[in-house]
Amino acid sequence: MKARFLLPLGLFAALVVLFAVGLGLNPREVPSPLIDKQAPTFTLPQLHAPEASFGSRELTQQPVALVNIWASWCVACRQEHPFLMELAQRGDVPIYGLNYKDERADAIAWLKRHGNPYRVSGHDLDGRVGIDWGVYGVPETFVVDGRGVIRYKHIGPITPQVWREKMEPVVRQLQQGGA
């Protein structure tokens, strides 16, 4: 067996090792480039009161808040909705909504039917704010701390498991005044 004929086998073995490592990683966990950065500033009309505004300032009134991007046309939002309701009832952490590319009437009707877990929802009709926040699929949920810095981002519906394992620890840490 001459060495050069073993070369393809060697290259291939290296690839297999790479894939084996790759299998343990999750490419869907794309970290938002905004993590640990100041949340983009915005001002939006409130969903239920268009004359009043909702913006970055409201987010920093407590040590930690959740910002949930939602829409009445989004099926996965309906899936996570009962859990958001539960979180809101527990009252551990305020949830703000960002109603994304939705008709006002549809959004209000949707909240009436399924319940409203949000302290306030901003109405982002043309999705401009969503773009600033780097939203690429609804629902998405951001954890924002008292200084308005994004500390965590979850893409897709929040499940009890995701909450317990990923988000709650971050929220708890921030509430206890950890940096």
């Binding site: 393809p8 086998l9 790479l18 894939f19 790759g22 299998l23 869907r28 046309w73 099926v75 999705g127």
Partner: protein
């Protein structure tokens, strides 16, 4: 009851595959005729049970048997019947079953159409294919059975992904899989030849028509996918360098190198080790494609629902199959002697250049596809590699390749001289450069250098093919007689090369001269783009079988031409709640007009995207020509003549 029968049929198919993978190979090694004779019946048995399983799954879909989990996840009572049939391969499990079924089909085809080959060779080829089949059947049965039951039985299914509810996607996976799986034949021939120590020109001749046929399917599959992406995704693009697109493109590039290198191995008995390695590599890349799509190591719009267990299994499959074949290669290849010697200036050298460029192109596409994974594995962060990288590395490799198409077909085997070649092509080349450089100006009033380059290359391929034909007809009595005397494989080669030229021109012109306007239009408003006026006539609501649609009507007018009305829809598929855009396209040989409805902007106005895409059809027209060329070449008479001679000798 029926789904359990399907599962049982798959188990029997696995048993048959085990017999096929073990007995004939052992028989060939130990020279036991009765063991060798098992190959064909076992191949048929395996195919029979795979067919039963496949039909039973299809039955479950057509009859809406939602007690089968896979059916419940991918179908719905409202789904039109044709999509219920294609939903069979709409998810991971069913598409794997299709894969396995096609592999069984190819195995039977090889068994049937290779009666003229030595029995031992056929036994080895079928045996190797049987082993491949064992791997995939095990993967199917142990990690991804499509026949799992669901309890309680849901009243209705979750519906097929709306993206897949389209005729392009009904055909795209079977075509592509025919290609992927077809390359297993070339692979099996290579391994059988290595095992038997018979790596000669006849081996290359036997595997050529199979390889070319697989390549034809792959070409059609990829271009169907690209065509589908163009009209269905509503982005106006036709290739996105998505990891899964790349996964199908990698084996195609190396497969293209393989069919050229097989030509050298057959005609000149050279490059044999290299050809064998390419055959292994092509199939390995097909497996790699399966791994990338089904394991979730890369993110892609195509990715199936991921399960780490599947990823581990298919990685092991890949490691064992490719590892074993490369080991056999390292063991056997050193004994092979390439006998065909050739000079530096010769057709062999040019074909070698073709191979090198194609393999390097494959390598750079693979690097771009796997680089994010590599960085992530090394803990260096997550990135994604986009079109800028691929275009930058890919285009410079394609330019010399396209140029060499013209020279390569005119060069002589074994030895040629630069002087003679120059003498032969100089007028043709000069004319091509002039015409090609003027084309962008004549058509678009533009002097864009890259467009000129693309046009020159396209015209050059056409002109050199004509020159080649003229030289071949020089000594024949009449034109018609001369044309008839040329072999099918010659015409196949010409058609495929012209296809490359047509595709190259389509890509160049559509990328440089497309216009795209994002506009806000209210009913009654219009927008002018180039020579076309787009009038937004209004919106109407429609009800489809399983979706509701908002349809926009746009009237397109151009001076001196009849108006066309284009419809673009925003559909909401009810079950999955998924919005989809149907683009409205007026197609033409020299340009497509393309409109896609965006979001409502209030006050009755909508965001509308308008495109004018010149020569974009040529991209797919060219790939059809390539596929036609491949078919002609695979149908060449000499592959069949051999068989007649062999049959006569036997009788």
């Amino acid at each position: 009851m029926l789904p359990e029968l399907g599962h049982f049929a798959l188990i029997l198919a696995l048993c048959m595959a085990l017999v096929l993978g073990v007995v004939p190979l052992a028989g060939a090694a130990r020279n036991v005729d009765s063991w060798v004779a098992v190959a064909r019946p076992a191949a048929w048995g395996q195919f029979l049970f795979m067919g039963i399983a496949f039909l039973l799954l299809m039955t479950a879909f057509v009859t809406n048997d939602f007690s089968v989990a896979y059916v419940a996840q991918h179908s719905n009572t409202l789904l039109p019947t044709i999509y219920r049939v294609s939903a069979v391969w709409g998810g991971h499990e069913g598409s794997l079953l299709l894969w396995v079924f096609l592999l069984g089909g190819w195995t039977v085809a090889v068994g049937t159409f290779s009666r003229h080959l030595p029995t031992l060779m056929v036994a080895r080829v079928l045996g190797v294919m049987g082993l491949v089949s064992v791997g995939f059947l095990a993967f199917l049965l142990f990690t991804s059975s499509p026949f799992e039951r669901l309890w309680p039985i849901p009243a209705d299914g979750r519906d097929l992904n709306p993206l897949l509810q389209d005729i392009g996607l009904v055909l795209h996976p079977p075509m592509l899989y025919m290609g992927y799986v077809g390359f297993s034949v070339a692979f099996a021939f290579a391994i059988a030849a290595l095992l038997g120590g018979r790596l000669d020109a006849t081996w290359a001749r036997w595997s050529r028509p199979w390889t070319t046929t697989a390549w034809v399917f792959m070409t059609l599959g990829i271009s169907l996918g690209s065509w589908w992406a163009y009209y269905e995704l509503g982005w106006g693009g036709w290739w996105f360098w998505d990891p899964v697109e790349n996964a199908s493109f990698l084996p195609w590039l190396v497969g293209t190198a393989l069919i050229h290198s097989l030509a050298v191995s057959e005609k000149r008995s050279a490059f044999k080790n290299w050809t064998v390695l390419l055959a292994i590599l092509t199939f390995a890349l097909s497996l790699l494609g399966a791994f990338l799509v089904r394991s979730g190591v890369v993110t892609s719009v195509h990715a199936f629902a991921n399960d780490p267990k599947r990823g581990v299994f298919i990685l092991m499959l890949l490691a064992v199959m490719v590892g074993a074949s490369l080991l056999i290669y390292a063991w056997r290849a050193p004994q092979v002697k390439s006998t065909g010697h050739f000079a530096v200036v010769s057709r062999e050298t040019l074909l070698l250049g073709n191979n090198v460029l194609l393999v390097v192109a494959m390598g750079s596409v693979m690097l771009g596809t796997l680089y994010p994974l590599l960085l992530d594995a090394l803990g260096m962060g997550k990135i994604s590699v986009g079109p800028p990288y691929f275009n930058t590395v890919f285009i410079p490799l394609m330019v010399p390749l396209l140029f060499m198409i013209g020279i390569g077909t005119l060069a002589r085997w074994k030895q040629d001289s630069i002087g003679r070649l120059e003498q032969t092509v100089r007028y043709t080349l000069a004319v091509s450069v002039v015409i090609g450089a003027l084309l962008p100006w004549l058509l678009f009033r533009s002097w864009e250098p890259m467009a000129m380059l693309g046009a020159v290359l396209g015209v050059w391929i056409l002109a050199s093919a004509l020159l080649d034909l003229r030289l071949r007809l020089r000594n024949s009595a009449g034109l018609w007689q001369g044309l008839r005397r040329q072999s099918r494989s010659f015409y196949g080669m010409v058609a495929a090369h012209l296809g490359v030229a047509v595709t190259a021109i389509g890509i160049t012109f559509s990328s440089y001269y497309s216009q795209e306007h994002d506009v806000r239009l209210a009913p009654g408003e219009s927008h002018v783009m180039g020579e076309y006026r787009f009038l937004f006539e209004g919106i109407s609501e429609h009800e489809g079988p399983n979706y509701t649609a908002t349809r926009a009507n746009l009237r397109v007018s151009k001076e001196g031409q009849r108006d066309v009305v284009l419809h673009s829809e925003k559909r909401l598929y009810k079950v999955q709640g998924m919005p989809m855009t149907e683009a409205g396209i007026d197609w033409g040989l020299t340009r497509d007009l393309y409109v896609a409805l965006g979001e409502p902007l209030g006050d009755g106005a909508w965001a509308v995207r308008l495109y004018h895409k010149p020569y974009v059809r040529w991209i797919w027209l060219g790939s059809l020509l390539m596929a036609l060329g491949g078919l002609l070449a695979a149908a060449d008479r000499r592959y069949r003549l051999k068989r007649n001679v062999a049959t006569e000798a036997a009788s």
